[in-house]
Symmetry: C2
Subunit: 304 residues, 2 copies
């Protein structure tokens, strides 16, 4: 049994998470959720310094909007589309007969106009585009969403459904790069407050297929993505718990989001994987939160 | 324009919710979310008296588990199945070409083993079943989940994605009926604390098709479902904001959840539609929460 499967067994055995029979899909205990909520609030207090606009999104978003943002070209393997039944009584009877004898009944399902949100910031861009050109100082947004990525795994740090707290910066190139730099510095403080080991390194997204390898190389070369890595499974295979992304003007172009003096907006985001950070805390400080270092308990306001 | 569409326009115009272009799918402002969170905590304080086990679920659950619970027979029209891409590089190129020319590219998607959670309690039953027979006193569970129901509507109180706080009771018939009675009394206090008009009435679920009509009639005759109705759109078409459900031994039988002295467990649940309750508050007390009645602000701890 490898180190990640062993960890999952320990989390199930301790009642921190509960299995559903599906890899990467778990139910959460009160103890686990309390830490996720505390982390979310803790990160929110750091972000509040920028007076961001707070927006909250449901776990699904319009299919067309995700296509327009280019997701289908880059990450088709991770996407979940939502399909629904549109049949009549007779179709329903046929579908139920198939389900009764364990045949595949999903052929009755038709694609709806919804997909599962794969990252907290995708639903944002159409909202901003609808408002017209950005103001002179650009915009800063505080987001939170359940995200879905189809990558079943027995490694508990690679869930299919998980929450990401995100801060997005839109505006000029220099706005975005300064914002990202600020958050990379805050990230070092955050990880120190949480008494976790972690280092920031260049990274790339898991672009699909052969052409995806080139995209990944280019992303690394241009320094578009950095991650804060925590050695949950050891130094040889560290886990990305935060990411710091510079999108160039990709979303500004896709959504025609203008700058006040013309040209298209640049954007960037910083994302915090709340389940991953919670698991990092449980792994490094133990499954009993009462015995966590007092500084960590204080930072997370666990005694409040 | 009917009363519900007019309300939606007012919520968009005020910036309380944001449109996505899809009926029943909205982004949430900070002001709206603050009330949802406050309601969730307020309801949680009432439920804490029963010392329930707290469990939290992601917005997706195993497809097979929902089928085993009988959902496909009763509500196929509301279900969302999650489909994913399993093609190779060549398939991906074909899919992208279709998307580029606005053809339907979703034919490449294959049903995964996941569905969107349609009600907060469905993921619970397999977890309880896995623990073996219930203890003598049965069990009480405090749940919360994003739920999905495919019923696109321009009425803001009928969303496709929404949150439901639920309390579930499992055990003997008398455990379940007493629990439901207690919560129907608490519901009257809750609605009074929130200064909302509301009445409890018999109800039925929206069972599918011709045979569904008989199921709905039977449910009403047996008094299995009650709803707390708030006249958000007027007395003629009140909105269910809470429901009080007795499942008989439906889930005990489906999941073979036993009682300590043999026989199958009975169950019931009470559900709180958090978005609906929030909208009721905004409709009756105004869009500016600062001017809400002081008793309501106090109950929701908005000044804390």
């Amino acid at each position: 049994m490898d180190v990640s499967t062993a960890l999952l067994d320990r989390l199930f055995g301790d009642g921190l998470l509960f299995p559903t029979g599906i890899d990467g899909l778990y139910l959460r205990s009160e103890r686990f959720e309390r830490i996720v909520d505390a982390l979310d609030a803790f990160i929110g207090r750091r972000g509040a310094a920028d007076a961001p606009e707070v927006l909250r999104f449901p776990p699904a978003m319009p299919r067309d909007a995700l296509v327009r943002s280019g997701y289908l070209g880059s990450f088709p393997q991770l996407l979940g589309t939502v399909h629904c039944f549109a049949g009549d009584d007779a179709d329903h009877r046929r579908m139920l007969r198939q389900a009764d004898v364990k045949e595949d009944w999903t052929g009755w399902q038709r694609a709806s106009n919804l997909v599962l949100t794969p990252a907290s910031c995708y639903p944002l861009y159409p909202v901003i585009a609808a408002r017209g050109p950005l103001p002179e100082q650009g915009g800063i947004y505080d987001l939170h969403s359940w995200c879905f990525r189809h990558e079943p795994s027995q490694d508990p740090v690679r869930m299919q459904t998980f929450r990401v707290r995100e801060f997005v910066r839109m505006g000029r190139k220099e706005h975005v790069l300064a914002f990202r730099q600020t958050w990379m510095e805050r990230a070092q403080e955050i990880i120190r407050d949480l008494a976790l080991p972690g280092t920031i390194d260049r990274a790339n997204d898991p672009f699909f297929g052969r052409s995806g390898r080139l995209m990944a190389e280019s992303q690394r070369e241009q320094g578009l993505k950095y991650e804060l890595l925590v050695p949950i499974h050891g130094e040889a295979r560290p886990t990305a718990c935060m990411s710091f992304n510079y999108h160039l003007n990709h979303f500004g172009e896709a959504w025609q989001i203008g700058l006040p003096d013309g040209g298209q907006a640049y954007s960037g985001c910083v994302g915090f994987g709340l389940e991953r950070l919670a698991l990092a805390l449980f792994c490094f400080h133990g499954l009993d939160t009462a015995t966590w270092p007092s500084g960590v308990r204080k930072a997370l306001r666990l005694d409040a």
